[in-house]
Symmetry: C2
Subunit: 408 residues, 2 copies
């Protein structure tokens, strides 16, 4: 049996589950008899290009570190946003990559990331095949946006969804404690795909109707309809909670933050600096006149790791492990995917799919997840998303705060 | 033995521990042989004025509800911001209050709140004494700002501090994963008292230097010094994390968001809509030119209850119970306080203090908690604050989310 080395990288925006996947890959590689050294790319593909690799084996001989890694947010190895050039136009970068891989006797390449990262996986696999480099290249999904094609859902989404729904419920409790009428607009990430904003709906239960309205980038946003929706809700209850995607656009495809000057008479004094929620806050104050505040959940929705979904972290770990099994079995140029084997009694199977069917595509909320008026989600979405946020992890703390594993 | 009734109210901004105190009061009253009915004021003193009281006994015969109440954020009974008129100027309101108390045979009045609420406690106690109403009036502190005089710290602060420090650490991990130089400015609540912003420093550990800089409302904010501080930090490391209080002011006492036009050449096109962090973000971009983003932790720092400090919740419960013991023992017109009996091996004793020494006063960060340049806290602050964030609670969840107790 030939023994060689493997490399793993992380790319794109961080999530609180991308390190759980890394932990899965490391765990499986460490147990494989085919693998000697496990290298980590420092800052994704940049780590290859600058020959900045770190041997990880000894760090994770300590199983406690593997456990900590699973609970650490952001990208343990560092991330990057790097677009590989066209294979036929510029070969220098590819030669550099494969020179470094050869130098370190690396024949397995794992890349954890989103749409852009899968483009890298596809191109490196194409190059390896075209020039018989003998490198197995595998992609593993991650993204809080849940917008990768081919997989039932993405690792990282469940934990972000749980954080968003938890936070929206807490924001609602905060708003409800006063007697004064109010509108609270919560802005959630996802410029093109509305899954994470939609996840705010998971906050609803028999004791909570918030969010009362939900606006997603998949449905054209109409200001008049919005104001009418809000007025109708205020007539029903004192405190209205609205969830909006950062990416809501009007029917012409213009972001609301940019399009709002149709409501501005005093253009020169009130340039809009904020995002969608801030813009809508100003419009509600002006057009409805009630107390209104906006809350951006901001980077915390992708960085918070102190209340993750156990389902998400466990699945993220498993899909990492399985990627190694597949790669060792001869699969290359594929992305690992989740398939929902049973929707009624949530059951997931892990498989893989040709990376060409996935790279550079973007999945959006399907029509049957959004109501006709475009101001709410459907039961089909709730049924889809609920299982992904289930379960809690015991957080490892020191001095009162979660412990993160840091690469040194 | 005379048997009478008691009433409890919550007032001011919500915290994630104010219901733990409520739970303590209810628990002790339920066990007292002197008390028959336990009334809750709906929306603080408004609930008395409108005779909107709710009998709580039967709800909390179920011990599970008491446990859930302890973990529920915001004000279970609803809150208010109501300033009692001067006792000598307007007596109608006082007569109304004591008429309603008499109607329900209420002789014990408990009010959980901040500075303004303690003003209410003081005035009601004065009125009761002056006109021999025989009502015992007790105040119990709460505030995330930690700005109440007379007590070592306030219930609610520890959990907010834990949430802020946890979030700042997560925001830092998020910033660190990229190669590009960046400044992240995190805005934290506290318009006049900097305790909660200072709590960001608790995030620091041997593996984390964030936040690199901390600016508090107690120290005049100087823009030139700030820019020099940031430049010096950027020279040391790629990603700089800054914690600023929403209430930072320049030497003339003007809020930075309002004062920033000294940096604006194009006044008319760039009216500042945001707060302190957004203002500083724009200034850093313009004056230093690096990537800069601002994050407002916003209402979540007072509303988040999914990662509270166990020390805070336990103490908040105990101070509520003790308030009942004191009231039954004949104490009136006092606020319950924490005294640090042992600083080295954190130990708290609960006592009370004359409300006149507390009401309408505002505690600020003492000088020895702030460094000389006014851009950081001292070890003395860390030693003071660390014990308050210790310990975690097991969160009760359903369908993947924390369960909140809701008054029906």
């Amino acid at each position: 049996m030939t023994i060689s080395n493997a490399v793993i990288g992380q790319s794109g925006g961080p999530t609180c589950a991308i390190n759980a996947t890394l932990a899965g890959v490391i765990d499986a590689l460490a147990k494989s008899k085919k693998i000697d050294k496990i290298y980590g790319m420092i800052n994704g593909i940049n780590g290859i290009l600058s020959d900045n690799l770190k041997v990880l084996n000894s760090i994770f001989d300590n199983r406690e570190n593997l456990k900590l890694l699973k609970l650490t947010p952001s990208s343990y190895l560092g991330s990057c946003r790097f677009k590989m050039p066209d294979l036929n136009e510029e070969t220098d970068v590819y030669e550099k990559v494969f020179d470094v891989l050869k130098k370190h006797n690396i024949t397995y390449f794992f890349y954890i990331g989103g749409n852009d990262s899968m483009d890298t996986v596809m191109k490196l696999n194409d190059y390896s095949k075209k020039f018989n480099k003998g490198v197995t290249v595998m992609g593993i999904p991650k993204t809080i946006d849940n917008d990768l094609y081919g997989t039932d859902h993405c690792p990282g989404f469940g934990s972000a969804a749980k954080y968003v729904a938890t936070s929206v419920a807490e924001i609602a409790r905060d708003a409800y404690c006063y007697l004064v009428d109010s509108v609270t607009i919560v802005e959630i990430m996802g410029r093109n795909a509305g899954f994470l904003t939609a996840a705010a709906a998971l906050a609803r239960c028999e004791k909570l109707c918030a969010p009362d309205l939900i606006y997603l980038p998949e449905h054209p946003f109409d200001l008049i309809n919005f104001l009418n929706d809000v007025k109708a809700k205020i007539a029903q209850r004192k405190n209205v909670i609205v969830a909006v995607s950062e990416g809501i656009k009007n029917k012409d495809g213009v972001y609301i933050a940019a399009a709002s000057d149709i409501f501005e008479n005093d253009k020169f004094g009130h340039a809009q600096l904020g995002g969608a929620a801030k813009t809508l806050e100003n419009i509600v104050k002006k057009e409805i006149g009630c107390k209104c505040r906006s809350v951006e959940i901001n980077v915390l929705q992708r960085a918070a790791s102190h209340f993750p979904s156990k389902t998400d972290l466990d699945e993220s770990f498993k899909i990492g492990k399985k990627a190694v099994t597949y790669a060792m079995g001869g699969v290359s140029g594929e992305m690992m995917i989740f398939k929902r084997a049973d929707a009624d009694n949530y059951k997931i199977e892990i498989g893989s799919m040709d990376i060409k069917l996935i790279a550079n595509k973007e999945k959006k909320m399907p029509n049957d997840f959004i109501n006709a008026r475009g101001n709410d989600v459907t039961k089909a979405f709730i049924d889809y998303a609920r299982p992904l946020i289930m379960g809690e992890e015991k957080i490892i703390t020191k001095n009162g705060l979660p412990v993160h594993l840091v690469l040194e």
